[in-house]
Symmetry: D2
């Protein structure tokens, strides 16, 4: 099936493999009139760039984006925006070894079974580089949403056993550490933990949290197109994500109706919620409170330590995966999570415009 | 947006409100030739029926399904299967009170904001009765999958603080208690806990686990249509679900690559995984191991205890929601989770048939 | 594939066979707040009702519609509108003969090959009764569009060799004859022609024209979702339609740029076109002039005259199809064409709301 | 709306403007294992290349395609195939004049109204160059279909008043004339006619016919996804096409059931049709006979002759559109029609694989 598109009204279609000629995305359905230039995209892409710390791969990838269509005189035209990042080192390595076996924690066996063979160079289509297209698309969605007062704050909430301490939470320090943790102490502890992982040829998982503010009430549809259902799909579609929760998430299992319900109150002449256990959605629609969700990210499956696996001939073997691999996916996935959330929110915002007849009549009478 | 459909090749479209004339579903894209009768559907619907224990509402709803189309001489014809359950007591109650305010934990405010008004009788479209259509559709998907050797086991894993003990896990007792717990001791403890909740006019959350066996390797697409991403959407689209995790789920955050990777091994001339931390998917495709996922279900938001809220005039008020309400959603949601999973798996199974050219050529040469 | 849905934002899903329990449709994505009752639908359905003249089948079908969901206090709620028409005479006839062979001009062979067998009673899913769902959906779309000043005029332009004479065109007489011809003289001639067809156990084709007024400029998308492309699909999806043309249609083949281009002019401070060769669309978007398109409808394939065909055992046979069959499909298809056009136009109107950023910002700031 | 994608299982997404950096397409859902190289695509693109005769623009466009992804070791991998053609002369011309007014027969007014402004350089997104993406996608679909024995023959059936004479029809001469007419005499006459048009600063319309052989019975779905309905959409989505007909098309209006029905007969142990008035589809499904359809193409709207129009300030003006413009669109559109047909047929072929349960079970048991 054509599975490389995401979104309905605002839709991205990504393409490209780790070691092919390049990686790209076509953004279709973007409203006309948004000021947009390559710098807007590059800023976002740089947040997922490798080589920024010792915990991200030292590959020399500049990942410079080129916009090929859809912009005229500095603004989006309503036609598809094609963006491309050339791959720098397509032929830099001998992948024949990886080609011969199935790496634990990777999709190699699935690809071979489903398609008959696979582009094994650097993970091919299932490489983390695939997310470049998502982030380029997300940069546009986020810029558009910003113009409507909708903002995102996404960060590493935990890395291995180290979590951000709510009492030390300081959004302003998030860019002071390469781990994107809004807590300098936790960042230092996580750094120490990751150094241990590296020494042991091992890797670590973690949790990403995303907070979205400024949404109007009522985004999302009541049944299958619930806002949280679409966020869940968007986030689980990111490689290595194994869980999604919104608001109190899995903690609701032990909660009661009295502790979990958010009371509505009136303040400043407007209806608010006194708490936000729901994480900003009720019945699949935004409820006026910030959207708060979390993603569980598994440890990088490519590790240098010895692992058992099977080769294509069905023989049991021991392997050590060579090459430079991040001991942690979380920091680079932060902007990917934000991008997928931005696309999802924008799509819901556009979809919501046709919900009420009087607003539609009003729209066309102007 | 048209948000009442789910699935791509095998697609359900549900309709109906809690107190309208009825609830129904149109199942489109069902392959021709599946033996199907109303009993096949009814068996599934009966698993979500209220009135089976003191913890589910005592409403006299028989929920008898009628098949209106798509079957000829006892088999599906490939044309849409329309199914309908009439609502029994449409006018049984005065809902004018509920109409006047926004219930905490419910979608009332969202509906009013999005659509301008709402069918407030019994929750209208956001009632749990909406799931009748899902379950009727899921029954068909599950029956078809069973013919291909794919089976589901879905159960209440925890209710409030009480969890199924893995050492006592016994699939055969799941229907011996109305809570659908495969552990009689846990069921007894959960029963006691729910009785306390009832006395306190309160309610409880819980966790549902679903285990799917018999899937071929390679179902799901590598990027946005990952099998786990679609399962996440399917499950989060069920009202009251606040979290989804697959395999080790949120525990991966504290895991390492070495502990989390599943080694491939050869046994009986076939490739297997030595463990199943992944929960049956790698890179978005089924990996041959059982799919194992969990859903976090919030406590029933409708409780008899006094709550604070706001009425439609923006005044702060205290309310006590009258009527018979389940103190726990989990047991009745078990079959809904299974139904949404079955539809998702079947859709992936059908979609997967076009992945390889040689199989397509083979198909048409027969 | 799930092929029983049409439309994107405003979407209908039809179900039902000629001799099953009933025929129905689920209309999803209808904006909230439209006053709607069963009479609104019935008025439309009555236009396709058989038994109105000697040229339509004398079956005693009242085709009374029931609305099952989506309406509250007389207005649409934004949730799916399910509508149902019960079939009256499900078991009235012995179809075993038809079951045994492939009727010329019918889909029997296609059904058997594709699905392995077919519901042969009265044509099953490919019966003209399938259009009941389309018309019920179209009635809603047309009512909504009427509130926005968009109107439809659809009529039989030709029947066999008899065409409406433009000089005698009189919209007011369209309902004075059962053929829906806005020209009483042509209607009389067509009546005589059809009587000959009947005597010869034969049938006749014809052409339907649809004129849509009041559209704003810019509906439709410039590439694959062109307004005329979607109209073409909508109209060709009606059984028996073999051609679609817009504006000058096939006559453009012999035209020149000078004769075919419509000059823009200014009148009353607004931009107009001096002519309408384009039929109301340019580059796939509405151009402010009325939409004018035509559908070519083939003669009823079921005729009483002797025909040659093949039975399911592959033997060549001669058949005479029994039963009451309209000698002409055109008059009853007029409202089906209008319905499909209305759904297509409404969908384009809703889709168009997200084209420009400043209008979106404006929408949400109110 | 995201309107730049076409197809469901096999889906193309096109992007690019006439004078932007380039034009491209992403082909998603292509089955894995198809041998494919740039030459396969180039061959198709060359059929729409300008500069091949005096009737196509003399622009120096080589239109060389680059494949950027989705191919590994010479075969498709099942992942998206991104293809790109760079634009050569982006800045070659002053378009400020065209920017100021609305060209008759063009979409300028629609773009300005819908999006607020437009990329006016060379027609922007509504330029004929947009079809490069369609043809690149169609080349892949056609190559895959060829492997299954499905072939296309597409040609100019008429140009202005000159039609191919069925008695002189000779497929082998189609490439001997730049008009793609399979009749050398008609080609010579059409050439003379086009020379007259050119002298008069005028242009001509025409008709394209496409014949598809080798289809299995049963492709297409019985209701909204009829094979002919999707072909109609595909063909009307091509700029300048104003009509579509299949089989006898508009001639059915004057036909009778007896003359229009195709008798089924048995020959060589197989069921055939004795004639092909239907053009290869019955009830929306392929009927085993060749698919035959026609597209009506309007005259090139850009002509050098003086035309009346309105400028952006609403003033009436006279214009002469400068630049090199083809006096006829038809010959270059032949391969575009074939491409859109190939994509539509392939999508129906893939979709059809899930119609029957026993075939599905069979598929997975191998």
């Amino acid at each position: 099936m054509a599975g490389s598109s995401y979104g309905n009204i605002f839709r991205i279609t990504t393409w490209g493999e780790s070691h092919g000629k390049g990686i790209g995305v076509v953004v279709d359905g973007c409203p006309a009139g948004l000021p947009l230039c390559e710098e807007d995209i590059q800023k976002y892409l740089d947040r997922r760039k490798p080589g920024q710390s010792k915990f991200t791969t030292q590959r020399n990838e500049t990942d410079t984006v080129e916009i090929l269509s859809g912009i005229f005189e500095g603004r989006t035209t309503g036609t598809p925006i094609s963006m491309l990042v050339w791959n720098k080192d397509q032929h830099s390595k001998d992948y024949s070894e990886i080609a011969s076996y199935y790496r634990p924690g990777h999709a190699d066996l699935g690809f071979d079974t489903k398609y008959g063979f696979r582009d094994y160079r650097g993970g091919g289509r299932s490489s983390g580089r695939e997310t470049i297209g998502r982030v380029a698309g997300g940069a546009i969605a986020a810029k558009l949403l910003e113009q409507m007062g909708i903002t995102f704050f996404t960060y590493s909430k935990s890395i291995g056993p180290v979590s951000v301490n709510p009492d030390r939470f300081d959004a302003s320090v998030i860019n002071d550490n390469p781990l994107y943790m809004p807590d300098s102490t936790a960042a230092a502890e996580a750094t120490a933990y990751l150094e241990e992982c590296l020494k042991a040829s091992n890797s670590s998982g973690g949790i990403i949290e995303c907070i979205i503010k400024g949404l109007p009430v009522g985004l999302g549809d009541p049944v299958f197109e619930k806002l949280d259902a679409n966020l869940a799909k968007a986030i689980l579609s990111i490689g290595a994500v194994k869980g999604f929760e919104i608001g109190d998430g899995f903690d609701v299992a032990k909660a009661t109706g009295l502790s979990n319900n958010d009371a509505f109150i009136t303040a400043d002449g407007q209806i608010h919620k006194a708490s936000n256990h729901s994480g900003g959605t009720l019945g699949g629609m935004s409820d006026g409170a910030p959207i708060i969700f979390r993603a569980a990210v598994k440890p990088t499956p490519s590790i240098a330590a010895t692992q058992h696996t099977v080769n294509r001939d069905g023989e049991d073997i021991e392997i050590n995966i060579k090459g430079r691999h991040d001991p942690i996916i979380v920091p680079r996935a932060v902007v990917v999570v934000e991008s997928m959330a931005a696309i999802t929110i924008l799509d819901a915002l556009l979809s919501n415009m046709t919900a009420k007849l009087d607003r539609i009549i009003d729209f066309y009478q102007k």
